[in-house]
Each structure stands twice: as structure tokens, then as C-alpha cells.
């Protein structure tokens, strides 16, 4: 029986002796050598995802002005950040659009710019226009501010994403006779295409389906820098049906993650626009999974053929919250470029970048192999049962 502790694995990382492979590489290793031998050899498996994650944003402390100001409304390049916090704190959400954007009044709206783009530009080092308004108080008399700022001028900027890294997601199709513009991309009528958005066998939570190693305090690759899992994500919903391998067959676990924006890279934080829907932020996340025992190794060896996603109609079923999925399809089928639904062959397209995910898994592997990145044992792991997580809908 193979048993390894975090401390033992970290000692090997420090000594430059840890064996680290990506969640893609481990699959062929297991096929060649079997679970037991691979578990004995491999210490860490790196997983990754790089896709649009709408529930993302940045907490800023913008720095005090002279005279002082309690900012009640804050705009960055015309995109409003929530300022109902202390004097110069604000939170910019990835999906916020400028007040001047006509949105879907000219349908489908283009949504060329928004919170996600501001975040990307700040990380890139570009100047951004800060505009702030206040009602003025005895302690904070200033009422107006306009200033060009850069990320390096701001005291603090913390990327805090309440829901990232979804464990599985819908495959979106359109059963109606008109084109749909959704957060799952453009869906052509009559099942003209099927869009999906996870990195499959590379995706973090597919490789640790019962969250044995991932929880509060897990150190991760986040947006090109180092971050941490800070909580279970919003809508974390572990109580769904799972395959025999433990992998959920519908959207399940989620992660809340955070990290210092200043050490991140615009290569892995990209503002994106969805025609007729809005803006978002593509976030790059990489999570190392320690091979604590053979079971953990077996989980990480899961392949696209063994991971299934539900096919959901976005013309009626999803928006109205009614009906059942049209079927299940494996990520191997999705990645092949076409799937069969009934007697129809439907072309598929991803919204998350498998290529980018693979690059992140390799970067994280190198960080660990070089001894730059040690693993952390979580303070607590993500809930496996929803007993403690209220997952109720509104009427």
C-alpha cells in the first residue's frame, strides 16, 4: 500500500526529487504501469482549467486622497465597482458593463468592454481612469475624484472569485428555430452546434471528485500567479449523481479562490465578450493534487472517456428551469468535434481553452519540480455533502 503525507511530498519537492506529472500524462502512465506502480512513483499530479468564469472580481483599496474621501460610487474606465465598503475600498465584478453600454437594446449586444477587460488591462500594466463620487462628511470631505491610475499605484488589489472551477458543466444546445446568444456562446437553431466548457480530464475537481485534498488553504496557480482556495464556491452542490468513478454527471462542486492581483499575468486573466449576453473574465487555475495513496492516484487518472456531461436545451429547459437533460455525452466525444444526439450529428465547440489548460498544468508542474511551489494541506476540505450547504432556489 502506498501512503504519503503532505510533509513527505514537500520534503521531496524541497530536495528537487519530487515526481510531478500532469493529469493528462498520468493517464498513459497508469495504462502502462498500473495504479500501484504509478502511485509509488508519482508524488504530485497537476490539474488545470482556463475558461470564462463570470463569478470573478477584484477587491481594491484605492488609497486615500487629500483631502480624504469616502467613495460612494467608483468607476474604472467607466465600469462601476461596488463601493458600499469602507472609504476607499471597492469591488469590481467581471461581468459589470459600463453605464453607457446599450446592452441588449440593440440585440444582440456586442459587450465589447466591461469589468473583465478592466481587470485584464490593470494586470497588463495599462493606465485606467478612476472616477469616484462621494456625498462628503466631516471626516471625509472630498466629493469628486478623477485620476489615471495603474495597478502599481493602488495599495491593494485582491482577486477574489466566489465561484470558479466548476466540477462539470452543461453541454448547451438550441432546440428552437432562432439563434440564441448565451453565456455558452452562440447557439444555432435546430441543434446547429453543441457548446461545452470544461477542460475534462485536466479539470481540477474531476481529478479529486470527493475533494479529499482540495479545501480552504490549498495553494494554487491563479491567473499566472499564486493563489489559494479560500472557501467552497457559491452554488457548491456535491449531492448530485455520480458515476462509479465518483465523477459527478452534472454541475457539482465549485471553488472560491483568491490571490494578490499584482503578481498575476494578463495571459491568464482575459476579458471576454459574449454576443448578446455580456462580458466575463477567463481565469487560469492550476491545482496540484498530492498522491497521498493509490485511491488518489486512481482519481487523477480519470480520462475524457469516463467523464460525462448533460446535454441541456438553452431555448426552453435552461432559461425556464424546466425539463430534463436531452442525454449524456463523454468529454472524449465532445472533444472529437461532433456528438450524436438522437439521429443527428451535431458539431461541438468548447468555450474553455484545453490548450491553455494544458499549458497551465505544465507551468505548475515546472514550479513544483523546481522546488518553487510547495503543497499546502487544507484547513478543511470542501463539503462532500450539502447538509451544511443550503442549496435552495427562489420561487
Amino acid at each position: 500500500m502506498v501512503k504519503k503525507t503532505y510533509e513527505e511530498i514537500n520534503a521531496k519537492i524541497r530536495a528537487g526529487e519530487a515526481v510531478v506529472v500532469t493529469a493528462e500524462e498520468v493517464i498513459s502512465m497508469v495504462r502502462e504501469k498500473g495504479i500501484e506502480e504509478t502511485a509509488a512513483t508519482v508524488d504530485v499530479v497537476t490539474t488545470a482549467t482556463f475558461g470564462p468564469m463570470c463569478s470573478s472580481g477584484v477587491f481594491f483599496n484605492l488609497g486615500h486622497t487629500k483631502p480624504r474621501m469616502k467613495m460612494s460610487r467608483v468607476f474604472l474606465n467607466g465600469v462601476e465597482a461596488y463601493a458600499g465598503l469602507a472609504a476607499v475600498d471597492a469591488y469590481l465584478g467581471a461581468t459589470q458593463i459600463p453605464e453607457t453600454d446599450v446592452a441588449n437594446k440593440a440585440f444582440p449586444g456586442e459587450f465589447n468592454y466591461g469589468g473583465g477587460h478592466v481587470i485584464e488591462e490593470l494586470v497588463e500594466g495599462k493606465e485606467v481612469l478612476l472616477e469616484a463620487l462621494a456625498y462628503g462628511t466631516d471626516c471625509y470631505p472630498r466629493k469628486k475624484l478623477e485620476k489615471m491610475i495603474r495597478l502599481e499605484d493602488i495599495p491593494q488589489a485582491i482577486l477574489f472569485n466566489p465561484r470558479n472551477g466548476y466540477q462539470n458543466y452543461n453541454v448547451a444546445v438550441n432546440l428552437s428555430d432562432r439563434t440564441l446568444y448565451t453565456y455558452m456562446g452562440i447557439l444555432k437553431p435546430g441543434m446547429g452546434n453543441a457548446n461545452y466548457s470544461t477542460s475534462g480530464q485536466l479539470s481540477p475537481l474531476f481529478n479529486d471528485p470527493y475533494y479529499r485534498t482540495i479545501g480552504m488553504g490549498t495553494k494554487i496557480f491563479l491567473g499566472g500567479g499564486v493563489g489559494y482556495v479560500s472557501w467552497y464556491g457559491t452554488q457548491h452542490h456535491p449531492d448530485v449523481s455520480r458515476g462509479e468513478n465518483g465523477v459527478p454527471v452534472s454541475p457539482a462542486g465549485t471553488l472560491a479562490v483568491m490571490g494578490d492581483l499584482k503578481q498575476m499575468s494578463s495571459r491568464w486573466l482575459r476579458g471576454v465578450s459574449f454576443l448578446g449576453y455580456g462580458v466575463s473574465l477567463m481565469v487560469g487555475i492550476g491545482i496540484p493534487i498530492p498522491v497521498l495513496d493509490e485511491e488518489m492516484l486512481k482519481f487523477t487518472a480519470v480520462s475524457d472517456e469516463e467523464i460525462f456531461a448533460p446535454i441541456v436545451d438553452y431555448s426552453e429547459s435552461y432559461p425556464q428551469g424546466v425539463g430534463e437533460p436531452l442525454g449524456q455525452v463523454s468529454y472524449a466525444q465532445l472533444k472529437s468535434g461532433e456528438i450524436t444526439i438522437g439521429d443527428r450529428v451535431v458539431p461541438t465547440a468548447p468555450l474553455s481553452s484545453y490548450f491553455g489548460s494544458r499549458q497551465i498544468a505544465v507551468i505548475l508542474k515546472e514550479w513544483i519540480k523546481n522546488g518553487e511551489f510547495l503543497l499546502t494541506k487544507p484547513v478543511f476540505t470542501l463539503p462532500v455533502s450539502s447538509e451544511k450547504v443550503d442549496f435552495k432556489g427562489l420561487a
Partner: protein, 143 residues
């Protein structure tokens, strides 16, 4: 001019500019009926009483093709070579692949097993669908 061999001896894409005085006149009908041309409208932006532009591909026998162009010019339509092209800005591309099901010409493909996006310029018909379909706005039109 392309020699596609056999039935059509000329096949060419071009930009047609319609002054506001002619935008309400039919042209496609006459090109087909009187000049025996195949008209493939790749893109058109024409409003009544305003100037319009269209990108078309005309194909037919050389004699008919030239006569068709003369007809268009005699009615006040100006003909420009198709100089607009779609450019793939690789550094903005995240290789997600969302474009691959949107491009009607097979010019944007997701190559497997690498899962990288490739832009095949020679297949592009300049329909511009990819420009707004690309989430990271990596496709641009250049004139």
C-alpha cells in the same frame, strides 16, 4: 481571374458600392437573368435611399462576366477589388475554439489532438461572423 475549368471561366470576389440614387434598383435579378451569372452575396449592407456596399462573388463565362460588370457600371454602381481581409490576432487568441462552429467556410478550425485554433486565410469568405463570435476579440477586419 480564376479558370475553374469547364462551365465557368471566371469567378471573382469584389466590393460593389451603390450610391444612394441606385440602392432601390434591383441588380441581382438582371445579373442572373440577362447575363447568366452566378451571384453569391457574401455580405451586404444596403438601406433604401442610403448608399450601400456589398461583397459579392460573380462567376460565369468571361464574355458574360465582363458584360455584367459593364451593366453594373452603366447603372452607377462602382466596383472595387476585394481588399478587405480578416486577420487572426494570434496573441489575443486563447485557443478556446468557440469560433470553429461559427465560421461557415471552415476557415477557423480546432486542430486535434493539440486543441489549437488555426486560421486558414485562403478559405475565408470575409463574412465577419467570427469577429463578434470570438470572446477574446482575436479576429479583426482590415481594409
Amino acid at each position: 481571374m480564376l479558370n475553374t475549368g469547364g462551365v465557368y471561366s471566371v469567378k471573382q470576389k469584389m466590393v460593389l458600392y451603390f450610391p444612394s440614387t441606385v440602392t432601390e434598383q434591383p441588380f441581382t435579378y438582371y445579373l442572373i437573368k440577362d447575363y447568366n451569372l452566378m451571384v453569391n452575396i457574401l455580405k451586404a449592407h444596403i438601406n433604401p435611399r442610403k448608399e450601400g456596399r456589398a461583397v459579392v462573388e460573380l462567376s460565369g463565362e468571361k464574355k458574360d462576366f465582363l458584360a455584367g460588370l459593364d451593366f453594373l457600371q452603366s447603372r452607377g454602381v462602382k466596383i472595387f477589388p476585394l481588399e478587405q481581409e480578416i486577420v487572426w490576432v494570434e496573441e489575443r487568441c486563447t485557443h478556446c475554439g468557440a469560433c470553429s462552429v461559427i465560421c461557415p467556410a471552415g476557415a477557423l478550425v480546432l486542430e486535434r489532438p493539440d486543441m489549437t485554433v488555426k486560421f486558414l486565410n485562403e478559405k475565408c469568405i470575409v463574412c465577419e461572423h467570427c469577429i463578434k463570435a470570438c470572446p477574446s476579440r482575436a479576429m479583426e477586419a482590415r481594409y
